[in-house]
């Protein structure tokens, strides 16, 4: 479980996160949603340590991030898997080398053992026979799956995903969403997904945190989000014509 307590982050004079407090549960896909510029990615980057918040605390399993020693930080980082928006695969390495990278860096396994694990996770993300290809030689959806494979290869406790569906067609996006949720349950890890994709909210939002202008304005589940009276959330959820039509049909039926 990850707990954040009154996190504040500013860039220059602009305060991006204005005192956010919440918890992200273990074994669940936790979604951070909101409009562009609401502070979702900044919150995620604070959680993974790429940004340092000016105020507030972050707790990983009850241990305060800011009070951890360098060694504890290093160990924590090994427990973190991250899926970046663009995949962030190392383009000078093959798919196999990319996925093997965390194992080479943090384990003392033999090459054959590492290869076995790499093939296992690539199979888990439904990718086979791509080991020797380079990232530029595969599609965007496949790159995302390789990135997931790299994130989970070292059996992390925490999986962070920054807009995993951006740039993907709806069908592939659902495949990626389902994969993230399946892995979360299978490995019993704490997963945090930053997204503004309502399909993801419907599909995998076991806990949803809604941000607006750096403030947490609502949190709940994917079932509750369609019933809430919170105006900011309903404006966001029903901003697409498709969801508006669904809502109108539901109202007519009632």
């Amino acid at each position: 479980m990850i707990k954040v307590d009154n996190i504040r982050k500013r860039f220059g004079d602009e305060e991006i996160l204005k005192g956010i407090s919440t918890t992200f549960d273990k074994g669940k896909t936790n979604l951070i949603i909101g409009q562009s510029g609401s502070g979702k990615t900044v919150l995620l980057k604070c959680l993974i340590g790429l940004f340092q918040p000016e105020e507030g605390q972050i707790y990983f399993e009850g241990k305060m991030l800011q009070e951890m020693s360098d060694e504890e930080h290093r160990i924590l980082r090994e427990d973190i898997g991250m899926l970046f928006q663009g995949g962030a695969l190392f383009d000078s390495m093959t798919i196999e080398e990319n996925v093997m990278f965390p194992l080479r860096m943090f384990t003392k396994q033999k090459r054959s053992e590492m290869l076995e694990r790499v093939n296992e996770v690539l199979k888990r993300v439904n990718l086979e026979n791509v080991n020797k290809k380079y990232p530029a030689e595969i599609s965007g959806g496949m790159q995302k799956r390789v990135s997931i494979a790299r994130a989970i290869v070292n059996k992390p406790k925490y999986l962070f995903c920054d807009e995993p569906n951006s740039g993907l067609d709806p069908k592939t996006a659902i495949v990626i969403d389902n994969l993230i949720q399946e892995i979360t349950h299978e490995y019993d890890i704490t997963t945090i997904v930053v997204t503004h994709d309502m399909n993801s909210v419907m599909e995998i939002g076991e806990k949803i945190v809604f941000l607006k202008n750096g403030v947490l304005v609502w949190q709940g589940t994917n079932e509750e989000i369609f019933k809430t009276d919170n105006e900011d959330v309903t404006n966001f959820v029903y901003s697409s014509d498709l969801f508006k039509k669904i809502r109108d049909i539901q109202i007519k039926e009632q």
Binding site: I48, G49, L50, H73, R74, L76, R77, E78, I80, M82, F84, Q85, G86, A88, L89, F90, D91, F101, P102, R104, M105, F106, F160
Partner: protein, 245 residues
């Protein structure tokens, strides 16, 4: 103010480069790859330029000697002095600032733009040590490149001088041996070591701390060449003042 901030950022980067070391076996592979990219990959262009510039230096010297009282061996002497003292260490380093420096900046800059550096950091890897340290170590072999440049420059001078009819082989070789001061070689290699550190770190700094997208990678590469060249010229002046004056 910006320059002071950038200078501070450069030295803070150096501090991080030499801390939290990457796993030895991985580092070894990275160093070998960098030697291949930065040293071996630069040899053809360095050899080509050195040979022909050496030839031009010999021809220019010969053509400018009109006075019959000036000994013929001066062609070899001038070629040796020009190549060893300035052409090989400094001129080749400026060329390397364009070739190697731009390569380093654009490769690290692209990694920054595509979040590959963030990926390293999230994994708990000191990205500066992982990316920059192997380049510094690989460029410790840079004096080897300069030694080859010296040899080929002088050889090019000999070929142009002798086969162009500007000097006899004996006179040229006599010129090479005349008033030879071994400390000049030491001076040249001291300069080379300083330049190699500049070549590895300044372009890395430009790439690592760049902000923006693909266009900015191009701009960073240009800035990298400019600043690396400026620092090489400045270092050249300071070292020459300290060691030869």
């Amino acid at each position: 103010m910006k320059y002071i901030k950038d200078t501070g950022s450069y030295f803070l980067m150096l501090k991080r480069v030499f801390s939290s070391f990457t796993k030895g076996s991985v580092l070894r592979e990275l160093i070998l790859k960098e030697i291949d990219d930065l040293i071996i990959g630069s040899m053809p262009i360095v050899a080509f330029i050195s040979f022909f510039v050496g030839g031009v230096v010999a021809i220019q010297t010969a053509l400018n000697i009109d006075n019959p009282l000036i000994p013929e061996y001066l062609v070899g002497f001038a070629t040796r002095q020009s190549i060893i003292l300035e052409f090989a260490p400094t001129f080749i380093s400026i060329i390397m600032a364009g070739k190697v420096g731009s390569f380093i900046t654009s490769s690290i800059g692209s990694m920054r733009v595509t979040e590959q550096i963030d990926a390293l950091e999230v994994m708990g890897i000191n990205s500066l040590n992982y990316l920059v340290f192997p380049k510094i170590i690989a460029l410790l072999l840079y004096p080897f490149v300069i030694a080859v440049a010296m040899f080929l420059g002088i050889f090019g001078g000999w070929v142009a001088g002798v086969y162009g009819g500007f000097s006899t082989s004996d006179a040229f070789i006599q010129g090479l041996q005349e008033d030879f001061i071994p400390f000049h070689i030491i001076y040249a290699f001291i300069k080379t070591f300083v330049f190699s550190f500049i070549l590895a770190t300044v372009p890395s700094w430009q790439g690592y701390f760049m902000k923006g997208g693909a266009l900015e990678v191009g701009k960073a590469s240009t800035n990298s060449f400019v600043w690396t060249s400026v620092l090489i010229i400045l270092a050249n002046y300071i070292i020459t003042q300290l060691l030869l004056s």
